[in-house]
Amino acid sequence: MTFLRVTGLSKSFGGVKAVDQVDFTVKAGHVFSIIGPNGAGKTTLFNLLTGLTMPDAGAIILDGEDVTGLPAHQLAARGVSRSFQNLQIFFNMTALENVMVGNHLHTTRRFLPCLFGSSSVRDSEARTRIFAEELMHYVGLGDYVDADASALPYGALKRLEIARALATRPRILMLDEPAAGLNPAETAEIDALIKRIAEDGITVLLVEHDMHLVWGVSDHIMVLNHGRVLAEGTAEEIRANPEVVEAYLGHRARER
């Protein structure tokens, strides 16, 4: 079953076609990876899909609904969530509060009850806190529940972003280079985490340079180059594609 269908999606920045007529479909429950050289348009594509950048042309159909041009917070309400390549942690809060922000749309957040500290807000806060703690344990950050976000090491922050994104209760989770800057042991944890997220029924869109991780978790891979789709297919098909090897993989095709 198709969960996400993208057609003719385009975005230019001052004459540079960052994303150029991109078409693809993602099946529900799949881990769909997007790879390609730096500057291929992967992050721009994520920004388009999450409403942080408005497309010039094309359509984004999410579970049958046209969501093209909706702003980020409205896409979040429709089950789209993401992590960021360059960390976008709320460093002015604790780690737990970061995750609680992710649950924003599921909290009792009307202004007057919040202002008067109504019991419905207190109950909602207690539930949110428990849910956020569970998620921190889920991503392996149980030790950092009470820590300030600024006290977390880099690898933990990457996972904090994933916990925060999961707190939105997403139907599709977009991970932008979750393993960048991590050591092999930490990457293996991310690998296991992505598989668990997919098993829980969340569709995953993954942008990643660590090919070991990509080969291991992906159901389907798309290669972007100069903003265009260069190739699409399973890991075997991508590895065997001479154009992909030429443009991006090079010696990495042999890594396993």
Binding site: H73, F84, Q88, M93, V101, H104, R109, C114, G117, R164
Partner: protein, 314 residues
Amino acid sequence: MNGTRLQRYGGLLLLALALALGPLFLQNGFHYNVAILAGLNAIVCIGLNLLIGYAGQISLGHAGFYALGAYASAILPDRFGFHPLGAMITGAVAVGLIAFAVARPILRLKGHYLAMATLGMGIIVSIVLDQEVDITGGPDGMPVGDLSAFGYVVSGNLAWYTLVAILLFITVWLALNLVHSPVGRALKAVHGSEIAAAAMGVDVFHYKVLVFVVSAIIASVAGSIFAHYSGFITPDEGSFIHSIELVTMVVLGGMASITGSIVGAVLLTVLPQMLADFHDYEMIVFGAILMSMMILMPKGLVPTLAGLFKGRRS
């Protein structure tokens, strides 16, 4: 009840105690005057801190909202026969609407541009108050009638002190509720990273406008109370200098700290009174405080001291 809620109610209890015991230490009219002004400044600063410290948006024009509230309480009862409470509420609603109308274009700006836009807005208010001599009395100012409600007229030091103390307590209570709710967390998220906040479902623009309007309404009500208390107001209440004083109080006391706003307001209300001989240099002192805070403890007094204390314990 978890730790943070216990702390919150403990803090409120301490505040109530301090406010109740205050009169024991206030020995004359001058002391009362300083305490009442400090309380009013604290109320404005708490609102302003929601905007600056929590949501990370600057305003250099909040004295304008304060002055609009003050002039509403001066003009409406005098010219149009409003009840003082009706005038206060009308002023607050009008200021809320003005803030809403101004916020929509202004809050799309960031950083220096937002500072400039709010600065301009404040200056426009003070120019209008200065120039509309027929309505506002111009630079000479205008008298304000008594604050009365239910047949009772607020007069005398203790009555005014009690009124301001109650209002301060209510403001602190409401602000604490707000910052410990999803709304407060959303404001902090907007401060931390706008794009991450948006991606988590926080309507960034909505919360910016909301907190701007709320802080403006708080300033307006405090302005109304000040007008009745003082009995005479001038366009100076809305001056750029007053806006800077308010921001300095927030920065000195501490960003994103309700306690900090009270501390900052009290310190910077009391200090100029003690240095009355240096009145001409007041703005230089404020400027120096603002600069040294930015360099030495950018988080402000209360969060920095709290951090030191926390660090020593663990």
